[in-house]
């Protein structure tokens, strides 16, 4: 079990800005896949580097299986931690072969295994990631996907207690990233290795993780199972970062929110009482655009501004009053630009959360430019 308590660290980013990880605490149960999710500069990588011992925290405690790695006056150096790590750049040593790369962690270990044992373990690790037979290949001759697998094999060969992954998929192209995502998930579930993963890609986080911590400005702002984060975000920031959302501000009334020129029936998060300022979180994939009124609840008339064919649905932008929102329509629907449409907001999938003033970059601006 990995325990992180009140971790603190000030750091400078590559662009020169000063940031801080403040009071970050979390626990990863054995065998779980735990993801730190957030935009660049949120402190997720720094937190991971503190776990690895590549950064020295200014405060807080890190424990692995009850043993202190950092804090309480102690600091275990990286090379003495029972970890495997995959870096964003893969960090495959270009002057070594595939075999030498994977054998390295075994060769430098305090109780170095015999030559035969190293060969066996390397073979096993390479088989795990599907690179068997490439032992003699010079590492720079591997493709991007193969280098990624090699980095993973090198991280796993020592059978570490903790696997650390720093945006390992971000350098792959989209198709390959999807495939590696599946493989990585299966591998982690099969080996049952405790894993901490860092990414800014919400889809990756939802797909891979048992639990996700969303980070913002050096703090964990919400933590939970992927489903929870999507269904009940605690703040506009989380709602925006995990999934797509249109935000509509309004005032809480009984059973809904006054907005869009009427009342939107929706689930209200606990803190909301009638009269409070709230923000409606509307997921585009839940909103349905119809050419005519269906008479259902939560239906609002608006003007269709964009309807783009995307295979399994039409991606729509609808203007309701001065609110611009994204929504979907049936792929076969006959819709024309600027026609009047009705948007159905299923009450079960509408959520209102407290409005803390945070806003994503507006959609309106780009929309106006597009139509001109």
């Amino acid at each position: 079990m990995l325990e992180v308590e009140r971790l603190r660290k000030t750091y400078t980013t590559d662009r020169g800005g000063v940031h801080a990880v403040e009071d970050v605490s979390f626990t990863v149960e054995d065998g779980r896949f735990y993801t730190l999710l957030g935009p660049s500069g949120c402190g997720k990588t720094t937190t991971l580097r503190c776990l690895a011992g590549l950064e020295r925290p200014e405060g807080g405690v890190i424990r692995l299986d009850g043993r202190v790695l950092s804090g309480e006056g102690r600091f275990v150096p990286t090379y003495s931690r029972d970890i495997g790590m995959v870096f964003q750049s893969y960090a495959i040593w270009p002057h070594m072969s595939v075999f030498q790369n994977v054998a390295f962690p075994l060769e430098v270990s305090q109780d170095r295994p015999s030559k035969e044992e190293i060969a066996r373990l390397v073979k096993e690790a390479l088989a795990l990631v599907g690179l068997e037979g490439l032992e003699r290949r010079p590492a720079p001759q591997l493709s991007g996907g193969q280098q990624q697998r090699l980095a993973l094999a090198r991280a796993l060969v020592r059978k570490p207690r903790l696997l650390l992954l720093d945006e390992p998929l971000s350098n792959l192209d989209a198709k390959l990233r999807q495939r590696m995502r599946i493989e990585l998930r299966e591998l982690q579930r099969r080996l049952g290795i405790t894993t901490v993963y860092v990414t800014h890609d919400q889809a990756e986080a939802l797909f891979l993780s048992h639990r996700v911590a969303v980070m913002q400005s050096g703090r964990i702002v919400q933590e939970g199972r992927p489903r929870e984060l999507y269904a009940s975000p605690a703040s506009p920031f989380v709602a925006d970062f995990v999934g797509d959302a249109t935000f509509v501000p309004g005032e809480v009334v009984d059973g809904g929110v006054r907005a869009l020129g009427g009342v939107v029936r929706c689930a209200l998060s606990e803190a909301l009482v009638p009269g409070a300022k709230a923000l409606l979180v509307l997921r585009p994939e839940r909103l349905l655009v119809h050419a005519g009124a269906t008479g259902g609840p939560n239906e609002f008339a608006g003007t269709l501004r964009v309807a783009a064919f995307l295979g399994d649905h039409l991606d729509c932008v609808v203007e309701i009053g001065d609110t611009v929102m994204r929504a979907r329509a049936h792929p076969a629907a006959e819709l024309r630009r600027d026609q009047k449409v009705w948007v159905e907001l299923p009450p079960d999938h509408c959520l209102a959360i407290p409005d803390d003033g945070w806003r994503p970059r507006a959609l309106t601006r780009t929309f106006e430019q597009d139509t001109e």
Binding site: Y11, T12, T13, D14, R15, G16, A52, G53, L54, E55, R56, F75, P77, T78, Y79, S80, R81, I83, G84, M85, F87, Q88, S89, A91, W93, P94, H95, F104, P105, V108, S109, Q110, A151, R154, A155, R158, L164
Partner: protein, 573 residues
């Protein structure tokens, strides 16, 4: 003068041993400060003292008063600036023209010209200078004799224009190297965008290419200026007989007079140092400004070449003339002179009586043999020590956050501002007083050479390290390797191209060095360049020619072999 290209995020790879860290850095600072700042401090003190040694300090402003107000001092300053400025401009114009032709035009035989443009980099300055003396000597120069016969006038080498021409020709390869790098790393899409905006090639050159290159060009001219200012070969071999004095030759004279006047020498050296530092500060300003023009991306582009059309052969002819003047003619004149008994202009009799006597003389001459051995020893030791020191210093400054690393980087860079002869003055002054038994031995030369070449080592190492992604080293610690296994098995192998490049560079320039050693040598520590300098004073020109031919052949072969060796290691990264 910190090295560029360092990412802001630094890591403590060996986090637990902070104290060892600080001790190592403190030791490194002490060593570097002793090598670089200490002699300079002693020098400046010496310039203000009328005492007979470092310990005998008696304050006086007499030397500076003389250096700064003397009638001859204005002439000295004017000569120095004219010589250095003129040579910089000549070298820049030639080097840039060749670089443009080779990198950006479709002139034929580009690879050949590339090689030819680099050869003068290998030839020692003293050999180049003497070869041109054979060509431009007023009475017996190959170029002047026919001129005089036909038109009744000659182009004397013993004038400021003569000095500018000879030094400029020798510095042109440096301009070529720097400018061709600038041409190569310039994003061609910037020019293509101009073309797409309907600018013709001439307008593109004038409005886009040249303005983009301006900061680089300014920095190259400044580098050339500072290097020429501190050059000693042309001022001593041509300036002294021609009675055209510049700072370096004046300092040399101050030592040669009897009794040597250390105070005066130190004052001259301080002034030269000040001008050199000023030039480099200016260079730093210019290059800092240059970063805004993000033309240098580190990527090598495949630029579009300008089609010269009917000017193609004009350009070819220009390059051929350069090849003739910079490489062929000097070598031929040396080869010819090395094969005759007494130097005279080429004639039928001379060719009938060609002899190898000069070569056998050189090979049997004890002093020359000692010089060869000394030069090799010096080059080997200097290159190895410089690489050893700078690889550790560069690693500390780039990869760690240890306090003091900025100072360390600065100290390793200080010698770039110290002219070789100024370093010589300070070391003479220092070690003739502090008798630790190295004065007059090869050790004082080793100290001089190592100090002088630290910046080149640091530049190569920092550049090499900055290119090695820090995650490559972090991956090693994360794999369980401590500092030393990481350094040995990951850092050093990846750094090998930079290590090798630095070693080769220092080795070659050590073999050619004259100015740093000219004030420090004794009969037991003569090196090759100094041996040539001495033989010239006794008029053994044909013997010099033989030694020069041998040196050129060996150096060019050596560089070719080492380059190939170095090239093979590059593929690893």
């Amino acid at each position: 003068m910190t090295s560029a290209g360092v990412t802001a995020r630094r890591v403590a790879l060996h986090a637990p041993t902070w104290r060892a860290d600080v001790v190592i850095v403190a030791a490194a600072i002490a060593v570097l400060a002793y090598l670089t700042l200490f002699p300079l401090a002693i020098l400046v003190l010496g310039a203000f003292s009328s005492g007979g040694s470092v310990f005998d300090f008696q304050f006086t402003t007499r030397w500076f008063a003389r250096v700064l107000t003397d009638q001859a001092s204005f002439e000295l300053l004017a000569n120095s600036l004219a010589y250095a400025g003129g040579s910089a401009v000549v070298a820049f114009a030639m080097g840039t023209a060749i670089a443009w032709a080779v990198e950006r035009s479709d002139v034929p035989l580009r690879n050949l010209w590339y090689g030819i443009a680099l050869v003068p980099l290998i030839v020692p300055g003293i050999i180049h200078t003497i070869a041109w003396l054979f060509l431009l000597s007023p009475e017996i120069g190959w170029i002047n004799a026919p001129l005089k016969g036909a038109f009744g006038f000659s182009l004397s080498a013993y004038t400021i224009p003569g000095m500018i021409w000879i030094e400029g020709l020798h510095s042109a390869p440096l301009a070529f190297v720097l400018m061709s790098a600038a041409f190569r790393t310039m994003d061609p899409s910037l020019e293509e965008a101009a073309a797409a905006s309907r600018a013709d090639p001439w307008k593109t050159l004038r409005r886009v290419t040249l303005p983009l290159l301006l900061p680089t060009a300014a920095s190259v001219v400044l580098i050339l200026f500072v290097r020429t200012l501190e050059s000693f070969e042309v001022p001593a071999i041509i300036g002294l007989p021609g009675r055209v004095f510049v700072y370096t030759s004046r300092i040399y004279l101050a030592l040669k007079q009897y009794p040597p006047n250390y105070g005066l020498m130190a004052a001259y050296a301080s002034v030269l140092l000040a001008i050199s530092v000023l030039g480099l500060l200016l260079h730093r300003r210019v290059t800092r400004h240059a970063e805004r023009f993000a033309t240098i991306t580190g990527k090598a582009y495949r630029p579009r070449r300008v089609e010269l059309g009917r000017f193609r052969f004009l350009a070819l002819a220009g390059l051929a003339v350069y090849g003739l003047l910079a490489v062929a003619l000097p070598f031929v004149v040396l080869l010819y002179s090395s094969l005759i008994r007494v130097y005279t202009l080429p004639s039928v009799e001379n060719f009938r009586e060609l002899t190898l006597k000069n070569y056998s003389f050189i090979l049997e001459d004890d002093l020359t043999r000692a010089a060869i051995v000394n030069s090799l020893k010096l080059a080997l030791v200097s290159a190895t020590v410089v690489v050893a020191i700078t690889s550790v210093v560069a690693w500390i400054t780039i990869r760690t956050r240890t306090p003091g690393r900025g100072l360390l980087d600065f100290l390793a860079f200080v010698p770039i501002a110290i002219p070789g002869i100024v370093l010589g003055v300070s070391l003479v002054w220092l070690y003739s007083t502090i008798q630790i038994g190295i004065y007059g031995t090869i050790w004082i030369l080793i100290i001089a050479y190592v100090t002088r070449y630290l910046p080149y080592g640091i530049r190569s190492m920092s550049g090499g390290l900055a290119q090695i992604h820090k995650e490559l080293e972090e991956a090693s610690t994360a794999a369980g390797a401590r500092w030393w296994p990481t350094f040995r098995r990951v850092t050093i192998p990846l750094l090998r191209p930079a290590l090798l490049a630095a070693w080769i560079y220092v080795f070659i320039v050590s073999l050619r060095e004259l100015s740093a050693g000219i004030l420090l040598y004794s009969t037991q520590s003569v090196v090759l360049a100094i041996r040539i300098f001495d033989m010239r004073e006794t008029g053994q020109y044909t013997a010099i020619a033989a030694l020069s031919v041998m040196m050129i052949v060996v150096l060019v072969a050596l560089v070719a072999v080492l380059q190939r060796l170095g090239g093979r290691t590059v593929q690893a990264t």
